[in-house]
């Protein structure tokens, strides 16, 4: 499988060039409004003093790190503000590989393609642990795959593409595996504001020295283009203390620091956005999930109902999740999704649809018509 180049851009380009109206369910770009304070923060920043247009501290604006640290209940020193969760995951993964002789990265199948591509880029040995039909990961399978060569276990919960949310027991077991093998659990939690029941608990809750939690404001504030994320590294005085320092050095020598206008706007949004904003976004997605899965029922498709994130994976009879079939769906049904094969072998028969369009119902009807 070629994970080198994520296929999102290819499908989006194909859909954009199509000769007909297409409902775009490809990317993870929210289609809803960012919170009003985010816009206010940008507007105020446009008139700021020239000094405010210069380098923020390399690990991020102090006030932003304070705000994140308070929310995550960790010491500020552990927080590095990054260029989105992408860089946070990159720092966590490179750091895990640097600190031990181990060269193996354990991931799930299906996998978020950037993790797999990164393993490739870093010449790591990628090993995939299949999840079950509902997207749940059995820690016993992870333990069976783990070895002295395991440098990192990279997981994403709430999960893209399956919509699964790992229960606290699973996360605790993953933490223990990381500890037992002196590996790092990289817990990417970017969809933590999109959980539709009470089942989510951050990996940070386990207070382990072997966890790096990564996150971003791309999804929760509907600003994937701003590139503000963060990683929470193990404390400096613990057994994995050196990771933080190396990550800060790598961040400095790769990016110097993250973009300040975006950090300023995010800080304002974090301070002034009421909880109702996030609740409203979840309600909107609940409605979309219902509308889409109802129509999938009507179309006779198999699917997983997401408990978190904003993707639905569906399987249609005799229509495997290949790039060719995705392109045919664009041309003949006017719906653009992602091929399941882009996420791994176990979902090669499936398609992924992102619920980031108000036209979810229309898309579902088109699919029902096409597969009728």
């Amino acid at each position: 499988m070629d994970y080198e180049t994520p296929q999102f851009f290819r499908v989006m380009r194909y859909a954009a060039r199509a000769d007909r109206d297409v409902v775009d369910m490809v990317s993870g770009n929210p289609d809803w409004e960012p919170p009003a304070p985010l816009r206010e923060g940008l507007r105020a920043y446009a008139d700021a003093d020239p000094a405010d247009f210069q380098y923020p501290p390399s690990p991020g604006l102090d006030a932003l790190r304070d705000e994140i640290a308070a929310r995550r209940d960790v010491d500020r020193s552990r927080v590095v503000v990054t260029n989105g969760a992408g860089e946070a995951n990159h720092l966590a993964t490179t750091g895990a590989l640097d600190r031990t002789e181990g060269s193996e990265i354990l991931m799930t199948d299906p996998v978020y393609p950037y993790y797999a591509g990164r393993a490739n880029l870093l010449d790591a040995d990628a090993r995939y642990v299949p999840v079950d039909e509902t997207g749940q990961l059995d820690p016993a399978d992870v333990r069976a795959a783990a070895s002295e060569d395991t440098a990192a276990v990279v997981v994403n919960s709430p999960n893209n593409p399956t919509g699964a949310v790992y229960p606290p027991d699973t996360v605790e077991a993953l933490v223990e595996i990381a500890e037992d093998y002196d590996a790092v659990l990289v817990a990417d939690e970017v969809y933590d504001h999109f959980v539709y029941d009470d089942g989510f608990e951050s990996a940070l809750a386990h207070d382990s020295d072997h966890v790096v939690a990564t996150n971003s404001f791309s999804k929760s504030l509907a600003i994937t283009g701003f590139r503000v994320g963060y990683a929470v590294f193990p404390p400096e005085d613990g057994p994995l203390g050196g990771m933080l320092d190396r990550a800060r050095t790598r961040h400095m020598l790769t990016n110097v620091t993250g973009s300040r206008p975006a950090q300023v706007a995010v800080l304002r949004a974090l301070r002034d956005t009421p909880p109702e904003y996030f609740e409203r976004n979840r309600d909107r997605l609940r409605e979309r999930i219902d509308a889409f899965t109802d129509a999938l029922d009507a179309a006779g498709a198999e699917y997983t109902t997401p408990r978190g994130s904003f993707y639905v994976m569906a399987r249609f009879e005799d229509y495997p999740g290949t790039m060719d079939n995705v392109e045919r769906l664009v041309d003949e049904a006017g719906v653009a999704g992602m091929p399941g094969e882009a996420f791994g072998e176990s979902r090669a028969d499936w398609l992924r649809f992102a619920l980031v369009t108000p036209r979810v119902g229309e898309a579902a009807e088109r699919l029902a018509d096409f597969f009728a």
Copy 2:
């Protein structure tokens, strides 16, 4: 020499905590206004459609790449918009190391510390070629140092910290050396808008397949905190074509893409800023150079008059450029500079002063008093 952690932040923190008024001449942060269209771009963007807040294309907004490509007279496909020149240099250097068996990076002494730190991070063999007293690099010295093991020659002209501008002959000779050894000339030209005579020519002028030119808008638009830079890679159909593709992949897997608010503001600034803006900034710096060097004359210091960039290196009798001496200057003279030793052995006796404060004259008087 420990280049791992650039010392800028340490000196700035020390100066900020000082018990007295300190003129800050440490960092390369412009203290002047960004162009008005930059602020207008930000203001307009604050009211943009939610879709405009989502991922730009990974290599940058099309219109921004078009604007850069037109200015540099290259095909747009060769331009990757990066998170500042930092990431541009990182992509260029990692790309040079990846493409050959060679593991050596040739740099100058004095060197911009991030280049040296990056060589460290990447486990490359760093080799330094001393420049002369005026900061000029003799290509014969570079050729003598080059070998089959040379993967990259990394230079910065106009130069930080020396203020030297390499004449076209030098750049041409460096290009030839890169070609002869199948290496990459990484030409960091971030100070190209700060040249005080007619002596500058971009390395791109030589139209070689062995050049990666890097740049940013941090200095020219007075926005070091925005993190918008770019690299121009060799054409895809040439002998080093693979570099571009690998750099795009690395960029995608590290950062996904750069921050969009900053890209939008830069694009507006590029389109609407009149040439007078840049001329005014050069004039201001010419005045500061005169004021500062006059006072250095009065203080009996040796110094180099910058022909480009905005730094002055000075040497005071019996006062080597150590961190201790820099801290003493903060406490006793109220002037914060950078220790020459942070840039390499050849400038261990020197101090670097950045002319990014309206209080250049006052700082110079304080130095004259202190050294009197």
